[in-house]
Amino acid sequence: MISDQFPALIIVFPLIIAFWINIVGWWWKRPCFYMSMLALSVSFISSLGMLNTVISKGTIHYRLGGWEPPWGIEYVVDHLNALILIIVSFVGLVVGIYSKKSIEKEISESKIPQFYSIYTLLVMGLLGMTVTGDAFNLYVLLEIASLAGYALIALGEDGAPLASFNYVIMGTIGACFYLLGVGYLYIVTGSLNMADLSQLLPNLYHSKVVLVAFAFLMVGVAIKMAFFPLHIWLPDAYTHAPSSVSAFVAATMTKVGAYVMIRVMFTIFKPYFSIEMLPATTILCWIAVAAMIYGCILAIAQNDIKRMLCYIIIAEVGYIVMGISVGNRMGFTGAVLHIMNDAFMMACLFLAVGAVYYKTGARTISGYKALFKKMPLTSGSFAIGALSVIGIPPTCGFFSKWYLVLGAINAQQWAFAVALLVSSLLSAVVFFRILQNMFFSPNENPPIPPLEKGGEGGFEKQGKGIFPHEAPASMLIPIFITVAGILLLGVYSGQIISTIIQFTVPEGF
């Protein structure tokens, strides 16, 4: 049955296609986009199929090469994986569609086949990190995703190569720390399989080697997910990347990092080790509080909107880590829900900012003045994304923050709840400045600029129709899909929690 092979298909199909794109692209540039989208659609369909199987039959175990788990590499898909896989492959597909037009403008034409090849590899690496049940295999796929990420970020505007180089340095430190942690675990247990490790480790919890391994794993993952004091690579790298690349990496890369953190804390190690034996979760909670406040305050200080969103990501990572480490059912539910919602929110905001940049070249707050008159659909979508980040009820951001606050209150940690609310207020300040500029511009009735003549140096030729200043439809539709996602995830969050997320909560909570 092909449905039994979904865990392999989700990785292998994009891998094969990515290399064929590279070959075909030398002679023929047109089909590259369609091949990439075909690969990502297959991944998306397989992830849907796997979620279906997981809900009806429980966890999937897939043995690569037919070898028994502790010796061979095993792919494990449970409720948590299946959800993250769907998010990553869906965002990858949507952003891929968007990138067709946006990339044509931002990078030189000769690099387009390579762009799609590397983009497919990036999605494949992130999917692989999510699907694998083997600690070392995770490292390899993490590096595939990171290398693809470095290359894509370096394609961006002036300053991108330096930002990407700093990201290479920091990312390599993170990955090496992770590798070192896995090495220590391998010395003491002789196993690399996550399920096997969690069976073998409890007898060794008082060993110093295991403590060191835990510390290295956590620091490595924290660098990769841009957790607060280790986030310095993120704002530069994501600001200078091409718009569609930053939309994808912002939406998924930090979230997959958060997923790996959950795996390390609650699958490789048992929850009682991470929560009760070590003060790890308490420390993480307080750092997360600092991340929330710091991210939002620095976001206020930014003038470049893309850079501002990057600092918002740092705050969002803080929310997720707080939810994970607060150590109860509500908080964990909120964290997983927030991983999902934040992927959609960040995709929506970055895509909208990219669309504005595509049409007007504006990326500063003052450049967004009276944008609603010119680009009503894009600014409306931006507004919904912004409201969701702030946490206004009909959007999905409200529900995940609700669970996070409940989690903090259940844990009797009032400080965390207060910090979360303060951070939400600060993000409201951040976004209302822009929204005010967009919708209620102080100078009344600003003249709508005449349709520009397309030509060299100028921005894209003006379209026709009802919204002549809007971006092309292939860029608008992905934005609308993410907006619909934000609204639907908000409305159906109850069902999502009862069918999927409640099974992701680790035992012992």
Binding site: L9, V12, W26, G65
Partner: protein
């Protein structure tokens, strides 16, 4: 940026050595699954022979023997060979990379099918490593401008 270097000793020695280097590379690839060695090592040795051509002769001579497009094709084809071997097992009803299932199309039993499956993967890895090594070297010595003619 490679200057043509006219030196009869270097050229003759390289002409003599390169076939043996390549033969050794193929040997290491072919025996990689049963003894020390394998695709990575053999691929590096093969790449070294081409890099020797590049150093001893010049860029245009090396590219006449091994063009950029061919190199690009090989570097993708090797990965494809690896993935396709796994994919065949998948199509034959096994899991991905379950080479035992190749016995259904090969005239051997499952144990030997595994043996040949690993061999196919090693060949794929060897081809890719060779091509990637050459292309990294080309990119670095020319600063990514190997499409253009070298400066004299």
């Amino acid at each position: 940026m490679i200057i043509r270097l006219e030196d009869i000793i270097i050229k003759t020695i390289c002409r003599l050595l390169i076939p043996f280097i390549q033969l050794f590379g193929l040997y290491v690839i072919a025996h990689g699954h049963g003894s020390p060695g394998g695709g990575f090592q053999g691929g590096c040795i093969l790449a070294a022979s081409f890099i020797l051509i590049l150093i001893a002769f010049d860029l245009s001579e090396a590219k006449r023997r091994f063009s950029e497009k061919l190199n690009n094709f090989f570097n993708n084809f090797g990965v494809f060979l690896y993935a396709w071997t796994g994919w065949m097992c998948l199509l034959l009803g096994g899991n991905y990379l379950d080479y035992g299932k190749l016995s259904r199309i090969l005239p051997v039993d499952a144990v030997h099918a595994r043996y040949y499956g690993v061999f196919a993967v090693e060949v794929g890895v060897g081809i890719t490593v060779m091509a990637i090594m050459i292309s990294i070297f080309l990119d670095l010595i020319t600063g990514g401008k190997h499409e253009e003619e070298p400066e004299k």
